[in-house]
C-alpha cells in the first residue's frame, strides 16, 4: 500500500511537471540508489576504491538512464576488509538509506556476507571485486551476479597454462582467508587435472609485510612453481621479496594467480617482467577500451582501469538495461532479467549471465612486458592467449549451485 501511494504520488508529480519520461516514477523511492562498497583505506584501494566510484559514475553517464527520466544516486563506503563492518553498512544501506544495489566489494570474506544479506533483503548485488568462486557455487543466490573474474577462472587460466608448459609441481603461498583458500583449492584442481602435482602450501595472514619466511619454505619445497594465492599489496610484497631471495634465479617460477595492473605498476617492470597470469580486461585491447581508460584515469589519480573497475562499469550498464526493460528496480526481478538478457558492453564485449549468476566473457592469458618492450607507464601486458568465454569459467553443473537444475 505504502509503495502504491508513493507510486501514485510520484506519477502525479511527474504528470504535473510534464515530464516526458515518467518511467523514473516506477522505481522504489523514485531513485535508483547505488551503493559502492569497497576498500577505501587499505591494500585494495588502488585496484578498486575510489576508481570503482568513478566507474559507476561513468556507467550512469554512458547508459543515458538519467535522460530517460530515472534519477540515479551513488553512495559509497569503506568496508575496511572486515565482514562485520561491511555487513553493518549493507544493512544500514538497505534498511534505512533505500539503497537498491550494492556493487564492487573487493574481499571475498566481506562479499560472502553481503551476498547473504542481499538475498535476505531481496535486493541486488553486482560483485566485481571479490574472487571466490563460491559466490556462484555453494553460496550462489538469486540476488547476486558475479561479474569480473573468479578464483576458478584464474586457476584454470594460469594454473593450466603453466602446468602444461612444464611447471608441473606447485607450492602455494595463500592469503589466510576465504579468497586465498578458494584460489588455492581451485588452482590445485586445475594443476592436478593438467597432470601436475601440488607439494604443499602455507597460509600467510592478510596484510603480511615480510614474506621471507614463507618464501624460504617455498624454496625448500623444491617445487617448480610457487603459486601466489593472494592479492594487492600481499602479491607485490611477495614478488618483490622473491626476487631478493633469488627464487627465480634459482630456477623456480612464480605464478601470480591474481595480479592487477595496479600491482604491476607498483612493482615496476623490472620486478614484474615475465609474470604470466589471467585477466578479463586490459585497457589496451581495442578502441573502446582505450577510450574508456582515457576518460577513467583523470578521475582516479591517473590510475588506469583495472578489471575490477571495468567490471563495476559493465555490470552497472547491464543492470540499467534490465531496470529499463522491467521499469522496476526490484532486486530479485532485476537480477532475473539480467540473466535473461544477453550482455553487450564496450569493455567485455558480448556475453551472458548464467543461471548461477556467473557473468560470462572471454579471459586472457597475459605476460608482463620487459622494460624495453614497454612504451611507457601502463603499457604493461602482452597477450599470450585468449580463453574463449565458454571455457573461461567453471561449468555451471560443477559448482554445486542450488539455482541450477
Amino acid at each position: 500500500m505504502q509503495r502504491f501511494k508513493q507510486l501514485a504520488l510520484a506519477t502525479a508529480v511527474a504528470a504535473l511537471m510534464g515530464v516526458a519520461g515518467g518511467a523514473g516514477a516506477q522505481v522504489s523511492d523514485n531513485v535508483i540508489k547505488i551503493g559502492v562498497l569497497t576498500d577505501m583505506s587499505s591494500l585494495y584501494t588502488d585496484l578498486a576504491g575510489a576508481g570503482s566510484v568513478a566507474a559507476a559514475k561513468l556507467a550512469i553517464e554512458d547508459s543515458g538512464i538519467e535522460k530517460k527520466g530515472y534519477k540515479v544516486e551513488i553512495v559509497s563506503a569503506d568496508h575496511q576488509n572486515k565482514p562485520d563492518v561491511g555487513s553493518a553498512i549493507a544493512r544500514q544501506w538497505y534498511d534505512q538509506d533505500h539503497v537498491d544495489v550494492i556493487v564492487d566489494v573487493p574481499n571475498s570474506g566481506v562479499a560472502l556476507a553481503i551476498n547473504q544479506i542481499t538475498k535476505e533483503k531481496g535486493k541486488a548485488f553486482l560483485a566485481s571485486g571479490p574472487g571466490t568462486s563460491d559466490l556462484t557455487g555453494t553460496a550462489c543466490s538469486p540476488n547476486t551476479i558475479h561479474w569480473t573474474y573468479d578464483t576458478w577462472m584464474l586457476a584454470n587460466g594460469t594454473g593450466t597454462a603453466i602446468t602444461k608448459a612444464g611447471g608441473d609441481s606447485w607450492f602455494f603461498i595463500a592469503a589466510d582467508y576465504a579468497f586465498g583458500a578458494a584460489l588455492q583449492r581451485d588452482t590445485t584442481a586445475a594443476v592436478e587435472k593438467a597432470g601436475g602435482k601440488v607439494l604443499g602450501g602455507v597460509k600467510a595472514p592478510l596484510n603480511t609485510q615480510d614474506f621471507s619466511s614463507f618464501l624460504l619454505q617455498a624454496q625448500a619445497s623444491k617445487a617448480k612453481v610457487i603459486g601466489l594465492a593472494n592479492a594487492g599489496g600481499d602479491t607485490t610484497n611477495s614478488i618483490k621479496q622473491a626476487a631478493e631471495f633469488g627464487i627465480v634465479s634459482g630456477g623456480q617460477q612464480l605464478a601470480g594467480l591474481l595480479v592487477f595492473i595496479t600491482d604491476v605498476h607498483a612493482l615496476g617492470l623490472k620486478n614484474a617482467q615475465g609474470l604470466t597470469f589471467t585477466t578479463t580486461f586490459y585497457w589496451d585491447m581495442n578502441e573502446q577500451t582505450r577510450a574508456f581508460a582515457k576518460r577513467f584515469a583523470p578521475l582516479d589519480k591517473g590510475i588506469y582501469p583495472t578489471m575490477v573497475h571495468a567490471g563495476v562499469y559493465a555490470s552497472l550498464l547491464h543492470y540499467f538495461k534490465a531496470v529499463e526493460a522491467l521499469k522496476s528496480d526490484d532486486g530479485t526481478k532485476v537480477i532475473a532479467k539480467m540473466k535473461e538478457m544477453p550482455t553487450d558492453d564496450p569493455l567485455f564485449g558480448k556475453g551472458s549471465v548464467r543461471a548461477d549468476g556467473r557473468g560470462i566473457h572471454p579471459a586472457y592469458l597475459v605476460k608482463v612486458k620487459t622494460p624495453a618492450e614497454s612504451k611507457g607507464p601502463w603499457d604493461y601486458y602482452k597477450m599470450v592467449a585468449t580463453i574463449p568465454a565458454d571455457q573461461a569459467f567453471r561449468p555451471m553443473t560443477a559448482g554445486g549451485c542450488s539455482l541450477v537444475k
Binding site: D46, V202, P205, S212, T236, G246, L267, N271
Partner: protein, 287 residues
C-alpha cells in the same frame, strides 16, 4: 633442521626492525611519557622520504639513510614543539589520542597522493645478490639490516645508559625540576629526544624501503606489533625494547614455520602471558 637455521635468521632480521622501532618508542616513552602512536606513520614517512630523495633528487640510499632521518626528525621536533608539549601535564591518553590522530592523517594524505599499492624502491647495487650459507640463501641486504640495526641499537643504548648526556636524560625523567635547577635546559632536551626517537623510526623506514613496498599502510601494519614488543620488554626500558625486539622476531619467525596462521597473533599471546606474570614487562620496573 637446516631449514630451521634459515628461519631463525629470518626471524632475527625481522626482529632487527622491531628492535629499531621499539627502541624509538621506548626512548620517547621513557623520557617523555608519551605513547607515540604516530611512530608507524613516521616510519612510513622515512621510507617515502628515501623514495622521494631517490626519484626526485637522485639522492642514493646511503645519503638517504642519513638525510631522511634528519628531515623526519625535524618534523618530529615541530610536532613536539607545537602539539605534544601542550599535553605533558595531562593523562597519557591525550598524547596517545593526538599521535594516533596524526598517524591517521599522515597515512590518509599519502594514500590519497601516492595510492595504496605503494612505490618500488630500487635495491642499491652494492646489495644485490647474496651469500649461500649452505642452509639458506642470505640476501646481502638482509645481512646489512642486522648489522646496521645492531649498531644503531647498541649505540643508542650506550649513549643513554653509559654517558653523561644519557644520565642527564634519565635524571630529567625522574625529576625535571631538580635537573632544571642544575642549569640544564630540560624542555629543549625533551624536544631533541622526541626528534631522535622519530629519527630512529625514519631510519628503520629507510632500511625497510628496498625490501618492502613503500606504501602508506606499511607502518600501520607494524605499529601494533611494535607496541606489543615495548609492552613485553617493559615500557620505557631501552635495553628491554632491543632484546625483546630481536627475541620476538625469532618467536614470530618460528611460528611462521610451525603454525603460520598464528604468526600475526603469537606476539599478543606472549604479551598476555608476560603481563599476567610480570605486569611491568620483562625488563620494566614497577613504579
Amino acid at each position: 633442521m637446516q631449514a630451521l637455521f634459515g628461519q631463525l635468521l629470518i626471524g632475527l632480521i625481522n626482529g632487527a626492525f622491531y628492535a629499531l622501532l621499539s627502541l624509538g618508542l621506548a626512548v620517547i616513552f621513557g623520557l617523555l611519557n608519551i605513547i607515540n602512536f604516530a611512530h608507524g606513520a613516521l616510519y612510513m614517512l622515512g621510507a617515502f622520504c628515501a623514495w622521494l630523495l631517490l626519484e626526485r633528487l637522485g639522492v642514493g640510499y646511503f645519503w638517504a639513510l642519513l638525510v631522511a632521518p634528519l628531515i623526519v626528525g625535524a618534523l618530529g621536533v615541530v610536532i613536539e614543539r607545537t602539539m605534544l608539549s601542550r599535553l605533558y601535564k595531562l593523562d597519557h591518553l591525550y598524547g596517545l589520542l593526538l599521535t594516533f590522530g596524526l598517524a591517521l592523517i599522515i597515512q590518509g594524505v599519502f594514500n590519497n597522493v601516492y595510492g595504496s599499492s605503494g612505490q618500488p624502491y630500487r635495491m642499491p647495487d652494492v646489495f644485490t645478490g647474496g651469500y649461500n650459507l649452505g642452509f639458506m640463501f642470505l640476501p646481502k641486504y638482509r645481512a646489512w639490516v642486522i648489522v646496521a640495526s645492531a649498531l644503531v641499537c647498541g649505540g643508542t643504548w650506550f649513549v643513554i645508559e653509559r654517558t653523561r648526556l644519557g644520565s642527564y636524560l634519565r635524571a630529567a625523567t625522574e625529576n625535571p625540576a631538580v635537573v632544571q635547577a642544575f642549569g640544564i635546559n630540560v624542555p629543549r632536551m625533551i624536544t631533541l629526544t622526541y626528534g631522535f626517537g622519530v629519527a630512529l623510526a625514519a631510519f628503520a623506514g629507510v632500511m625497510a624501503a628496498p625490501i618492502y613496498q613503500v606504501a602508506p599502510q606499511m607502518g600501520a601494519n607494524l605499529i601494533i606489533v611494535v607496541f606489543a614488543v615495548v609492552v613485553i620488554g617493559g615500557m620505557g626500558s631501552i635495553g628491554g625494547a632491543i632484546i625483546t625486539g630481536f627475541v620476538l622476531g625469532v618467536v614470530e619467525g618460528l611460528t611462521k614455520v610451525f603454525y603460520p596462521e598464528a604468526s600475526n597473533t603469537v606476539i599478543f599471546v606472549v604479551m598476555v602471558l608476560v603481563l599476567i606474570v610480570r605486569p611491568a614487562g620483562l625488563f620494566g620496573r614497577e613504579r
